[in-house]
Every structure is written in structure tokens, then in C-alpha cells.
């Protein structure tokens, strides 16, 4: 059953739960962004270090981290959407 926006804030308890869920999702996306920034910073440092030694790029370790990075991006977006929808539609559907 789909809850309307007003139902999500219909009582103090419901408002608390809605705000808590919202804060958790925002913090999660914030952490995700900071992690990506840190990852790209480290990757730039590694590339500079490899270039100083005469190699073009780190090769296999970089490919592996790219694969994991894309899985991380895809799964984070997917889980954020699914858990948000699950909360808005409420778990009656389970």
C-alpha cells in the first residue's frame, strides 16, 4: 500500500522514523561520495608514482579496483532506491 507524504508524517512516531530513514540514506550517500573522492585521489597518486618510475599505469590492480568501483556505484544506487521505495510503500508488500 502506497503511503502519501502526509501519512509519512501522520504521527510523532512516524515522523521520527521517516526522518531517521532519510538521515541514514543521506549519510550513506555522503559517505559514498567521500569514498569515491578518496579513491580517485589515491588513484591519481598511484598513477603519478608509477609514471615517475617509467610505467604508464599500475595495470592489473587498477583494473580490479575499477571493476569493484563500478559494482559499488551500481549496488549503492540500487540499494538506496530499493530501501527508499520499501519505506515509502511500507513493508506490507513482503
Amino acid at each position: 500500500m502506497l503511503l502519501s507524504i502526509s501519512e509519512l508524517f501522520s504521527s510523532p512516531g512516524m515522523t521520527t522514523v521517516t526522518v531517521a530513514a532519510l538521515i541514514i540514506e543521506i549519510l550513506s550517500l555522503g559517505y559514498f561520495g567521500v569514498t569515491l573522492a578518496e579513491f580517485f585521489l589515491l588513484r591519481r597518486k598511484h598513477r603519478a608514482f608509477h609514471a615517475a618510475m617509467g610505467a604508464s599505469h599500475p595495470g592489473h590492480p587498477e583494473k580490479a579496483s575499477y571493476v569493484i568501483l563500478w559494482i559499488y556505484v551500481f549496488s549503492t544506487v540500487l540499494f538506496t532506491v530499493v530501501t527508499s521505495l520499501l519505506f515509502i510503500f511500507q513493508p506490507h508488500i513482503l
Binding site: I24, S28, T35, H50, M53, G54, P58, P61, S65, P91
Partner: protein, 161 residues
Amino acid sequence: MASALSGNGEKVIRVISEHWIKYVFPCFVFGILGSVSALLFLLAGYTAHHAMWLSHLSFIAALLLFLLTHHWFFTKLLGETMTHVIITNRRVVWIHESIFQREHMVEYAYEKMKTVEAKKSGIVQTVLRYGTIAFESGADIRYVPHPNHVAKEIEQAMGMR
């Protein structure tokens, strides 16, 4: 991988990633905590009609546990994939990374060492073909795939300097 000479005459011979065994423990923990959060999501669903407060509490707990586990797991994995060993004609460099926690680079210059030792201990390391590379000074490098072969390459590189 390209291995041109750098300005100071250093040449990268090989870049080695650590063995996949290091991912087993994080995957195991992720599986356990992911299952617990899935059970909490199910509890939230089953109690939605008759105990709304319990349903909401379980949902928030499940969400929090799941997202914490998810971010911990991928942060750990991303850090681990960036950890690698570089063998050049002058030194071995071990770049040991962990996002937000550790940025550690250890250098083993050939000038300061005479031997390198490969160690495999136990049936797991023998079967899965990984082990430790030990130097005369400095920390040992663990989770090296085919350590005997790597040690031989390092010895050959030591002869090239």
C-alpha cells in the same frame, strides 16, 4: 604493462596484486551481516500489520546495519585492490592501502639486501599457491601469489642493478 626507463634509469619489471584469499574474510563478514539485515527487513515486513512500532524499529535497524555493512565491505575491497607490489631493477615497493585508514609504502632497496626468501606455510597456502616474501630488513609481504617465482624474479632483478 609498459615498462619504459624512468629519468633516473629505473625500470618497472612487474606489478603484482596480492592473492585473492585476502578477500575471503571480508566476504564472509559481509555475508553474515547482510543476512542479519535481510532477516531484520523480513521482520519489519511480517510485523507491519500487528506491531507497527516493532516494524519501524526493525526497518531502521536493518537499513542502518545493511548500509554500514555495504560501505565497510566496499571501502575495504577498494583499499585492498589498490595494494600491490612493484618490482623494478632497483627496488621492490610495497604499496599497502586502505581507504581512510592507512597509506603505507615500504621500499626494499637492492643496495641494502643480499637475499630474498619465499615462504609457504600450511596446506592452504600450498594448495592455493600463495605465501610470504621475506627480506633481510623490513616487513614481510604477505599474500603474494606464486612466492617462489616472485622471489626468483626479484633475485634476477637484483643481478640487473
